[in-house]
Each structure stands twice: as C-alpha cells, then as structure tokens.
C-alpha cells in the first residue's frame, strides 16, 4: 500500500536508521519530510500532509506529545489527520499511557520485527480509514489527554523514587513593563495566551507579558479554576460567559467583562456540553 510519511527525530543517526528500516519493511511508504525538532515537525506535517507521522517523544523545542496536540488542533478540516506513532528510548510514563490507549509506539533501538508489526497495523488502519470523515477520533483525544496528565506527573517527580515536588500554587504574577515590575494577582486574571516564548496575561483592565513556558505555569494553577481550552490558551472557568458551537463543530468562548473571543480547539471541545 502506498502512503506518505514524516519522521521527527532529533538524533540524525537514529532518524536515518528508522528511514532505512522503514524503506525495507514498507517500500511503498514514501518519507516526504524529516524534522529534527518539534516545531519543524508541525510545520513539515502541515505542509506535506503525510498519512503517517513518527514522533520522537523527547525533542528540542516541542515534545512529540506537543507536536501531536498541535497537529490535532491545527490540522485542516478537509484532510484526515495522520496516524501517529510515538518513538521513545525510555519514557516510562508514556509507555504506561500507551498501554491504555489506541496509540502505537516503537522503542529505540528499533527492532525490525516490532516495526513490521507497526507497519501492518498502520496499513490496516489506512485501508479502513474513511476518507470522508474529518472528525477527530475519540480515542486520539483520550490518548492525548492521558499522555498529557502522565507527562505532567512525570515532570512533577523527575527522578523515580524521589519525593514528588508539588509545585506551590501561584498567587501573584510578576510582569515587567519597561523598568517597572507589575504585581498581578492570579485572582484578577481572565485568561492566559501563550505566544512564542511569552505568555500574555489578560485581566479585565489590561494586558501583561511574562516569560515562562505555558506548561510550567499550568503546574502552578488550580486546574479547577483555570481550564486549558487550546494548547496556547488557559482561561478562568468563572470568566466564561458563553460557549458557541458553530456548524463545523468549532467552539468559541465569550467572556464576562472582556470583549475577547477565545477559540476552543478540537481536543478540548468536549469540556463544553450542556448539563
């Protein structure tokens, strides 16, 4: 069966070897793009729209998991989402999550027999795939959210056996504006929007920028109080006025006391259901 694929792997030797092994096991699979870091993988996949992507979990920039989330969120509606295979040397948290999810993975060093099995599964899934549906598969949403929470708890307890360092809840943000440091109480924040290396902090009256990865900020926020609705957006649940679902299934949020409209990605649309 002919298909197109993308390999995202930061270690050049391993990327070349995976490509060579795939060429032997599945000659009709054409590797249309390779990427050495996460952002390049997202860009490459969106540009070349492959059927299959092999994602290394630990990559510089975005992790394989974040690449999968970005693809699920930004994938154009008229093309089916690529099948995802995670590649890892040793990420126990991820392996545990994979066991419970309908997501395939291969371990490094790659065993050809194991990779052959993956290829057969991929071929079967591609053959069965209904080319007309663009609905995000439910099991992928479940798998990604399981992986996300597993990764968060693994980050909280970095060395196995060491006591898990629980991040204290953040109460005040310190945002610099020129030479001035503004003290912004978390209680006043309506939403956070990540952009590049910064996070935009939006209160009812004004906006600030802080330099911090969103995933680090998330660990210090109360998940009951702040909901992630997009990989780049975290919103105070109390501040949401309405959630409007349009014909394509996309959900938009309006806020109380702020004109901004926030987009809910497909990964998080299930949060908004009538009781």
């Amino acid at each position: 069966m002919s298909a197109t694929g993308l390999i995202a792997e930061d270690e050049p030797l391993l990327a070349a070897s995976l490509k060579a092994t795939l060429a032997r096991l599945w000659p009709q699979l054409q590797i249309v793009a390779t990427a050495t870091h996460g952002a390049a993988a997202v860009e490459g996949a969106l540009a070349s729209r492959p059927d299959v992507v092999f994602l290394d979990i630990r990559m510089p920039g975005l992790s394989g998991l974040e690449v999968a989330e970005a693809l699920a969120e930004d994938w154009p509606g008229d093309v089916p989402l690529p099948l995802i295979v995670f590649v890892t040397a040793y990420d126990q948290y991820a392996l545990r999550a994979f066991e419970h999810a309908a997501v395939d993975y291969v371990l490094k060093p790659v065993e050809p027999e194991r990779l052959a099995l993956t290829c057969r599964r991929l071929q079967a899934a591609l053959a069965a795939r209904n080319r007309t549906t663009t609905e995000l598969p439910g099991e992928l949403i479940a798998a990604l959210s399981a992986l996300r929470s597993a990764a968060a708890s693994a980050a909280a307890a970095p060395t196995s056996g060491a006591p898990a360092a629980v991040e204290p809840r953040l109460r005040v943000l310190q945002a610099s504006l020129g030479a001035t440091i503004h003290m912004v109480p978390v209680a006043a924040v309506l939403y956070f929007a990540a952009a590049d290396k910064y996070i935009k902090v939006v209160t009812a009256s004004r906006e600030y920028l802080i330099r911090m990865p969103l995933r680090q900020l998330l660990q210090q926020l109360d998940p009951e109080e702040f909901w992630q609705v997009h990989r780049a957006t975290v919103v105070r649940a109390d501040a949401i006025a309405t959630a409007v679902r349009d014909d394509t299934g996309k959900v938009d949020l309006t806020l109380k006391g702020h004109p901004a409209k926030l987009v809910v990605s497909r990964l998080y649309a299930h949060l908004f259901k009538a009781m």
Binding site: E11, P109, A155, S160
Partner: protein, 365 residues
C-alpha cells in the same frame, strides 16, 4: 509472627494474631508447669493440669491487657507502643499474676466442681504465698521471654528497614548516574553504527565502557586526579556528541598545574549532565558546554557552563537530585569550606553557569 509486643508497624490483624499466639503459648506454659507440679506431687495429675492451664490463661489475660493499658496510660507516645518499661511491667506482672492466680483457681473450680480452700479463706497463708510464688515467678520469666522475642523482632525489622533504605538510595544514585533515557538512546545509536560504520561503533563502545566503568567504580573510590575527572567527562560528552552531532560543542580547560589535584570522583558529572539534559538537549540550535578549572589562592574553582535554554526553561525541572548530591558530597568532605552555586550565565550567550569552590588538598609528596 508471635511476638508483636511493641513492634512498630503492626497492623490490627497482626496485633490480633499476636494476642492469640501469646494466649496459646501461655496455655503451653500452663501445661508445662502443671506437669512439673505433677512430677513433684504425683496425685490428681489431671486436676493439677486443669488448674495450671486455667491459672496460666487468666494470668496471660491480665498481664497482656494490663501491659497494653498501662503502656497507653503512662506513655502513649512511647518509642515501643504497648511496652510501658520494666518498672511498670513488674507491677503489672505481680498484680496480673495474683489476679490470674485467683481468677484461674475460680475457673478451675468451675470446671472441676471442686472447692479450693484459698477461695473460702480457710487456707494457711504460708501455702497461699507458696502457691502464689509458683505463679508470679513463672509469669515473670514468661513475660521476660515474650518481651525479649519482641525486642529481637523489632531490631530485625529496624535493621531490615535500614538495609532497604540503603539499597534504595544506592539504586537511585545509580539510576541518576546511568540516566536510562541517555543510556537507551546511546545504545540505539550504537546499534545503528554497528551496521553502517563499525570502526566508529567500536570507538563509541570504548567510550561507553569507560563511562560505565567510571560510573560503577565511582561510588567506591574516594578521590582521583582532576585529569581523570576531565577524561571521564570527555568520554561522556563524546557519547553525547554522537547523538547530538554539531548541536553539541565541548570545550575543556584544565591547566597543567591543576591536573594532579585530587577531587571526589565524578563530582562534575551531575553538573555536566544537567547542562546537557536541561540546557542543550531542549535547545533547538544546541550550543556549547565549557568545563574549566582555575585556582584562586588555595581554592579550586570548577566551572561548568552551557549556552542552553537557561534555568527554568527546560523540559522538566528535575535538576535538584543531581545538585543535591553534589552539595551533600561537598559538605561531607569539606564542610563549609566548599560551595556550589548555580546561576544564569551573565554574558550575551545565555545559558547556565555552575561553580564549585573547594579547598585544594595538600599535595601528596
């Protein structure tokens, strides 16, 4: 598990079986004592046995319950729960066995249908004391026996716990040194090289062997020359260079005058690993790592600097274990004379700078 008196972590179920076992053992002792009496006074062996067992059982009841009550009352936060200490315990044994003697005799009367004179007050007091001595003395010895067993069990449990803790911390140290993610990725690279570039695979394997040897023996040796320390780090970084290629550039600066200074083995290793794991690996364009040694008077200064993503930007903030380990080793060896600091690098290249300051040991001459 018989002797659960006072052992620290006994469950409710464990405590129940402990009581039952002690009760059964007391019955055993009762039979034994009864047989001894029967040897001395061979009439009415069965009656003697019944009384003996009854007295032993009731003695056990009063002493064991009394022990628990008094222990909870005199010292509820005792190191050994359920053990009030010998001074209180002697009182418990005397009172408990006296009550046991009376209660057991009553029970024996009930079972045999006889009427023992002491309960009617017609018995000669000397006889009563003699009988009582026959009860109190064995009760004391048996209590001593139960307590000794429990003390031994406690000690064994404590020793086992200590052993387990030591083994766990050794394992954690080893796991931190042989970081599994690094290890399996290195093996994956080796796996590829064996196929495409055998001489390079051999060179990589040599470096891996040197790294493993140093890591495994590092916990045994107490010190080695700075030259050796640098060479171990060179091995490690060569392994990483196979994986990261031109994303990793390493720079070493070890003045000849300092090459023979003795340092704790693999002291710098956690710092270098942190630089890779939290600085350069997460960085898309990579960067360089600089390891240098300097001397300021009698102070040795070791610097590990990277131009990676910087503090607090890494994939995970798991640096604490490695840093804590370095700090602990420095504190153990040099007390307050040594220090480790970790800061953002001050110049435009960014990244992180770790600095160790420690006294230069007197040269071995």
């Amino acid at each position: 598990m018989v002797s659960s008196v006072g052992s620290r972590a006994t469950s409710a179920a464990g405590r129940r079986t402990g009581y039952l076992a002690r009760a059964l053992r007391s019955v055993g002792f009762g039979i034994l004592i009864g047989l001894c009496i029967a040897v001395l006074r061979p009439q009415r062996v069965w009656t003697t046995l019944i009384y003996s067992v009854c007295i032993a059982l009731v003695c056990w009841f009063f002493i064991d319950m009394g022990r628990n009550l008094v222990a909870g009352w005199v010292n509820p936060r005792n190191e050994r729960p359920g053990w009030p200490g010998w001074r209180w315990m002697i009182a418990v044994v005397i009172v408990g066995s006296s009550l046991g003697f009376l209660g057991g005799t009553q029970l024996g009367d009930l079972l045999t249908g006889e009427r023992t004179p002491i309960l009617t007050g017609n018995e000669d007091l000397r006889h009563v004391f003699a009988d009582l001595l026959f009860v109190v003395l064995p009760a004391t010895i048996i209590t001593y026996f139960f307590n000794a067993r429990s003390v031994i069990a406690d000690r064994e449990a404590a020793a086992q716990a200590a052993q387990r803790q030591a083994a766990e911390s050794r394992l954690r140290l080893l796991e931190a040194q042989l970081e599994p993610h690094m290890f399996f990725n290195t093996l994956a690279n080796l796996h590829v090289l064996i196929g495409v570039d055998p001489p390079r695979a051999q060179a990589m394997l040599d470096q891996l062997i040197a790294f493993l040897r140093a890591t495994l023996s590092g916990s045994r040796a107490t010190e080695h020359p700075l030259r050796a320390e640098f060479s171990r780090i060179r091995d490690y970084l060569s392994l990483m260079q196979v994986r990261m290629e031109d994303r990793l550039r390493a720079h070493f600066d070890l003045p000849d005058a300092l090459a023979d200074v003795l340092v704790p083995p693999l002291l710098l290793q956690p710092l270098v690993e942190n630089s890779i794991k939290h600085g350069l690996e997460p960085s898309v364009q990579g960067g360089r790592i600089e390891i240098e040694a300097r001397q300021e008077g009698t102070t040795l200064i070791l610097r590990v600097r990277d131009t990676g993503v910087g503090l607090g930007q890494g994939v995970e903030n798991g640096t604490s274990f490695g840093l804590q380990q370095v700090r602990e080793r420095l504190a153990t060896l040099y007390g307050s004379c040594a220090s480790l600091s970790l800061n953002a690098a001050a110049d435009a290249d960014g990244g992180t700078l770790a600095v160790i300051r420690m006294p230069i040991p007197a040269p071995l001459k």
